[in-house]
């Protein structure tokens, strides 16, 4: 299992690198969409069907929105060659990332390895979800009953985003 996930994640990394470095913005956006679709496969392998359904549709919609923005705009990234300063800053960033990666690899040694997760809070969700919330789908039980307050907040986030989009896309700002 771990191997399969790692291989798919490797492909996602390649896709991400292509998305970042592609010259054409449309192919960059589509590569990003492919990374999102690979995530769906990971979700299915990790036994999360709810997430897979949501992610596949959300990713499609994100892709449509992004393509709608890029479509009939200037698609080429005007790409100038890096000067010395650019090389130095890129090297610094990569060095910093390597350092953080090493730090990460060291710091996760004491934690649970993949697949041996123990439960503390969620134990009672699994034991209690069916009798307490009456829901056969444990994720729906958690989302709407045990953590329903989060879900309300999240619905409000979406409404806020809609209001924000409507606010930003007004044609005239001041009278």
């Amino acid at each position: 299992m771990e191997l399969a996930i790692s291989v798919i994640t490797g492909f996602m990394i390649l896709g991400a690198l292509y998305a970042i470095h592609a010259k054409d913005l449309l192919s960059s956006v589509i590569a990003c969409g492919i990374v999102g679709y690979s995530l769906v496969i990971c979700f299915l392998l990790l036994k999360a069907p709810d997430l897979a359904i949501v992610q596949i549709v959300v990713d499609t919609i994100t892709l449509i929105i992004m393509v709608a923005v890029v479509h009939d705009s200037s698609r080429n990234e005007s790409y100038s060659k890096l000067d010395t300063q650019g090389y130095i800053s890129a090297a610094t960033i990569i060095l910093l990332i390597m350092l953080l990666l090493y730090f990460f690899a060291v710091s996760i040694k004491s934690l649970d390895v993949l697949g041996t997760s123990s439960l503390r809070m969620a134990k009672y969700y699994i034991e209690g979800a069916a009798p307490k919330s009456g829901s056969a789908n444990l994720v729906t039980g958690v989302v709407f009953d045990f953590r329903g307050y989060d879900t309300m907040g999240e619905a409000v986030v979406l409404v806020t985003a809609v209001l924000g989009v409507l606010t930003i896309l007004r044609i005239k700002g001041k009278k």
Binding site: T9, A19, V35, K109, E154
Partner: protein, 112 residues
């Protein structure tokens, strides 16, 4: 452990893109890659070997389920991510109409 490290590399690929790219769309793409890696991280946290998807079958209740809590968190986070992407896209399309370009080097009224 290797899966977690790969996931973290994906996160840093996104961060690298946000810092080094000079194009509005590329920055948005990099942010959504960071977002994807975070979702993957949460899904990895909940996985249990031999577990089944967390849907109770009343006929056969004794099973090992994967942890439903991280999945619930990701469900919330995906929709929040969609909201932030939509906001970012709205600002980007507006900026494009004002300046006629996606290049951030030409969009520099404010400094500091």
């Amino acid at each position: 452990m290797i899966a977690y490290i790969m996931c973290f590399i994906l996160f840093f690929v996104g961060l690298y893109g946000v810092i080094t790219r000079r194009n509005l769309i590329k920055i948005a793409v990099s942010l959504s890659i960071m977002e994807i890696s975070t979702f993957l991280f949460f899904a990895l946290l909940g996985y249990i070997d031999g577990g089944v998807a967390p849907i109770v079958d009343p006929a056969d209740p004794i099973k090992v389920y994967v942890d439903p809590l991280p999945q619930a968190l990701v469900l919330t986070a995906i929709v929040i991510g969609l909201a932030t992407t939509a906001m970012l896209m709205a600002v980007i399309i507006r900026l494009y109409r004002k300046y006629g370009t996606f290049d951030i080097r030409e969009i520099k009224n404010l400094r500091g």
